[in-house]
Subunit: 429 residues, 2 copies
C-alpha cells in the first residue's frame, strides 16, 4: 500500500485500514514474551527495576530493533532511549510514542512494556504499510516510571520535560544506598559501549501518545478493546488525626467518653458522603487507618487515617478539599481532628484537538473507543506540559496491575496498537 | 467503747460510730506507704508481680501484722494468705475481707493493696473499739489477681472457690517459662520458713467484703467518698471481620468497590447505635481495629475489630449479643462480615441482703454511698459463688488505674475503711 504522506493537506489520503491491517499480532506477542524474559519471574510476573541489569538488557534489546525500522537509536542524559524514524521534512518536530520498560518489584508483563512494544509494532506497521511521514516518528522508553527502586517515579519524563532537575534526580538513592546517578552511569556506559549516541533533553515534540494498560476495571466492564484517555486525575493525599481520651472500657460511662475510633468512624463516613457524586467520578479512598493504643479493653485515644482523593477537574478537587477542611474542624464524638495535606498533583486535561483526533481515528477504523480518565500517574503527566499529549488505554483483566497476574487479551492489545499506529500516521502525515 | 457483740440479736447495740472513729488515717497511710515500697518505682508506681520477690516480701510483712491483731496467719495451697481473728463462737463461719497485693507491671500503689490494708486497718479498728465478734474475722490476700505475670488472673480466688483446678493453675507459665507452680513453691517455702502454717482451700465463709479503688470515674464525678457495688458487669468479647476487595484507589469507580473499611465503619456505627441506652449502663468499646493491606492508594480488603461489651444484667447482654449477630449478617458496603465470640463472663449480682446491709451501715454512719456496678473483674466474682459477697469502691483520681499515677485521696480511703469496719462488725456480731 502506497503512502499518501506527501499530500499533507488531505488526511483522507492515508489508508488507515491498511495501516491497521499491517499491525502483526504474532510480532507483538513475540515482543511481549521476549521483553517479559528480562527479569521474568517463575510466577509469570516481572521484576525489572529501573536501571537494574534486566532494565539495561531490555533497553539494549529495544535499541537492536532500530535497524528493522530504519531508525536511529539515541539516549539522553537521564537514560531515556529514543528510536527515531526520520520523516520527509527534517524541519518539523517529531510525533512521539512510548512508555516505560521498568516494572514494580513484583510487577506484571504489561504495565509500561505494552506501551513501548505497541509503539514499536506501530512504527513497524507504518513502515510495512509503506507510509512515509512528513514528520519524524519517535519511539521512547522513559527511565524509572514506577519509582519502585528510586522514588519518586517518572524520573525520565520529568527530567526530559524540565519538571525536575537532572542533578537532584541523580542523587535519589535506592534502599541499598545506590544513587540513581550511579546506576544511570552504569547503564549509559553499556549503551556507549553499544555505540548508542547521546541526545539532548527537552527536544521539541509535535505530539506525544502513550498506550498503556488501564489499571482499572472500566474498559473490561464495558466490553471494549480500547479507550481514549482525556486526562489524568488530580490527586490530593491527606493525613487525618482524631484525638480523644484513653479510658477503661469497663468502667467509663458513654457520657464520659471521648472515643477516638467513634469520632474517626463518624468523620470518615461524613468525608465519604461529601464525595458522593451521581456521576461516580470522584475517587475517595481511606487506605491506612491505625487505632491506638489498640487494646481490646481500652477506649482508643487516637486514630490516624489517610485520604486519597482524585478527580479529573481542578475546581472539584479544590471544593472537596475545602469541604474536608470544614468537616475536620468539627468535633467528632467529642474528639478533636486535624487534616494535614501530604501531597497534591493537579489534574491534567489532554487537549481536545488530540483526543478528538483519536476519537475520529477510532471511528474511521470502526472501533468503539470510549473516553475515560486515568486514575493512575503516567509519564504523560509531564509530557502534557511539553507538547500536546494524550493516551490510549487497553483493558487489563480485573483491572489488576502491579502484580504478577496482570493480564491482557492479545486481541485488545492489537486493537490498541492499530488505533495508535493510525493516529501516529494522522499526526505525522 | 465496750462492744455489744455478745448480744447478737440486737444489732443496734454495736456502736458503729465508735468503730468508725477507731479507724486511724495515719496508720492506714503508713501501711500504704510501706507496702508501696515492695516493688516501688521511681515514678511513684509499683511493680509487684504475682509471686515475685516483692510480692513475697509484702506477704511476709502482712503476716507480721497478725500479732498486733491477735490473729493467726496461715496460707493455702495456692498461696492465699489469711489472718484469722477468732470470734467468740468457733462453730460459726468467718466474715472475710481482703483483696490482693500483686500489681500490674507498671501499676499503682492502690489497686489491690488498698483493699488488703483497709481490711487490716478495719480489723485493728474493731479490736481497738473493743468489739469482740461472735464470728471469726479474716483478712485475706488473694494470689495473682492481676494476671499480668501468669494469665489468667484471679488465680487465688478461682482455685480457692474451686472455679479452676490447682494443678491446671500451677502449670501456667510466665513469659520467662517459669510456671506459677514453681514460683508458688518458692513463695510457700519462704512462708514455711517463717513458720506460717498451711490451711485448706474452700473453707466456708459467712460473707466476703472487698474494698477496692473504683478504676472508673463515677464516684469522683459525683463527689462521693465511697460506693456500694451491687454487682460486676458481664463481659462479652468478640472479633468482627469485614471482608471486601482490594483495588486501586485511583482507578476503581465507587460503584465497583467493596471497601472493607467503608463497611467496617458502617457496621461499627450500627453496633454502637444498637447499644445506646438512655440509662448509660451498656459499655461498648471497639479497642482494636486493624485495616489491611493498609496502603494509602489501595482500597482495603479486610478490617478486623474487637468488641468489648459489658452490662450488669445477663438478659440485656444476651439481647445485645443477638442484635450484634443479626447486624453482622447484613451486607455492609457490599462486604461480608463475621462475628466470632472470644470470651464471655456472666454478670454477677451481689445479694441484696449484703448490699442492703452496706446501704444501711453507710446510712447509720451518715455517709452518702451510692450504688454502682463494677466494670472491672475482681476476686469477688469467684467469691460470689462461694458465699454472700459484695464490694465497696473508693474513688481514684481521673478513674485511672494500672498506671504509676494511680491516686486516691486518703480521706476517701478512710471513709471506705470506716464503712468496711462497721459492716464487718454488723456481719460478725
Amino acid at each position: 500500500m502506497q503512502s499518501h504522506a506527501n499530500h499533507p493537506d488531505n488526511s483522507t489520503t492515508i489508508n488507515l485500514s491498511a495501516i491497521a491491517t499491517a499491525v502483526n499480532p504474532q510480532r507483538l506477542e513475540n515482543d511481549l514474551a521476549t521483553v517479559a524474559r528480562f527479569g521474568g519471574r517463575t510466577d509469570g510476573g516481572v521484576t525489572r527495576l529501573a536501571l537494574d541489569n534486566n532494565d539495561v538488557r531490555a533497553r539494549l534489546w529495544l535499541i537492536e530493533q532500530a535497524s528493522t525500522l530504519g531508525a536511529k537509536a539515541s539516549v539522553d542524559a537521564i537514560g531515556n532511549v529514543f528510536l527515531d524514524v526520520p520523516g520527509s521534512d527534517p524541519r518539523l518536530s517529531p510525533v512521539v510514542t512510548g512508555s516505560h520498560l521498568d516494572s514494580q518489584p513484583t510487577g506484571g508483563k504489561y504495565d509500561g512494556a505494552l506501551g513501548v512494544l505497541a509503539g514499536l509494532e506501530a512504527l513497524r506497521a507504518l513502515k510495512q504499510a509503506g507510509f512515509t511521514p512528513r514528520r519524524s516518528l519517535s519511539l521512547v522508553s522513559w527511565t524509572n516510571e514506577e519509582g519502585a527502586r528510586f522514588s519518586p517515579g517518572t524520573s525520565g519524563s520529568a527530567v526530559f520535560c524540565d519538571v525536575r532537575s537532572l542533578d537532584e534526580t541523580r542523587q535519589v538513592e535506592d534502599s541499598d544506598g545506590i544513587s540513581l546517578g550511579s546506576a544511570l552511569d552504569t547503564c549509559l556506559a553499556e549503551l556507549d559501549a553499544a555505540g548508542v549516541p547521546r541526545r539532548p533533553l527537552a527536544t521539541p515534540m509535535h505530539a506525544f501518545l502513550e498506550l498503556h494498560i488501564e489499571q482499572g476495571p472500566i474498559l473490561e466492564r464495558d466490553g471494549v478493546s480500547v479507550g481514549v484517555v482525556e486526562g489524568i486525575q488530580g490527586v490530593s493525599w491527606f493525613e487525618v488525626t482524631v484525638s480523644g481520651s484513653a479510658n477503661h472500657a469497663g468502667t467509663t460511662p458513654r457520657a464520659m467518653r471521648r472515643d477516638a475510633l467513634e469520632g474517626a468512624c463518624a468523620l470518615a463516613t461524613a468525608l465519604r458522603e461529601a464525595t458522593r457524586d451521581s456521576e461516580d467520578r470522584v475517587r475517595f479512598t481511606i487506605g491506612k487507618f491505625t487505632v491506638s493504643p489498640g487494646s481490646v479493653n481500652t477506649i482508643p485515644d487516637q486514630v490516624t487515617f489517610s485520604i486519597d482523593l482524585r478527580h479529573p477537574e481542578a475546581a472539584t478537587l479544590k471544593n472537596l478539599e475545602a469541604t474536608f477542611s470544614k468537616l475536620t474542624q468539627r468535633s467528632w464524638a467529642g474528639c478533636h481532628a486535624t487534616l494535614i495535606p501530604l501531597s497534591r498533583v493537579e489534574p491534567v486535561a489532554f487537549p481536545a484537538t488530540l483526543t478528538t483526533l483519536l476519537d475520529g481515528t477510532a471511528n474511521e477504523l470502526g472501533l468503539t473507543a470510549p473516553r475515560l480518565v486515568s486514575g493512575a500517574f503516567h509519564d504523560a503527566i509531564h509530557l502534557a506540559k511539553h507538547c500536546p499529549t494524550a493516551m490510549l488505554f487497553v483493558p487489563c483483566r480485573d483491572g489488576l496491575s502491579h502484580h504478577p497476574d496482570e493480564h491482557i487479551e492479545l486481541a485488545n492489545a492489537v486493537v490498541g496498537t492499530q488505533l495508535l499506529a493510525a493516529s501516529l500516521a494522522s499526526l505525522a502525515q
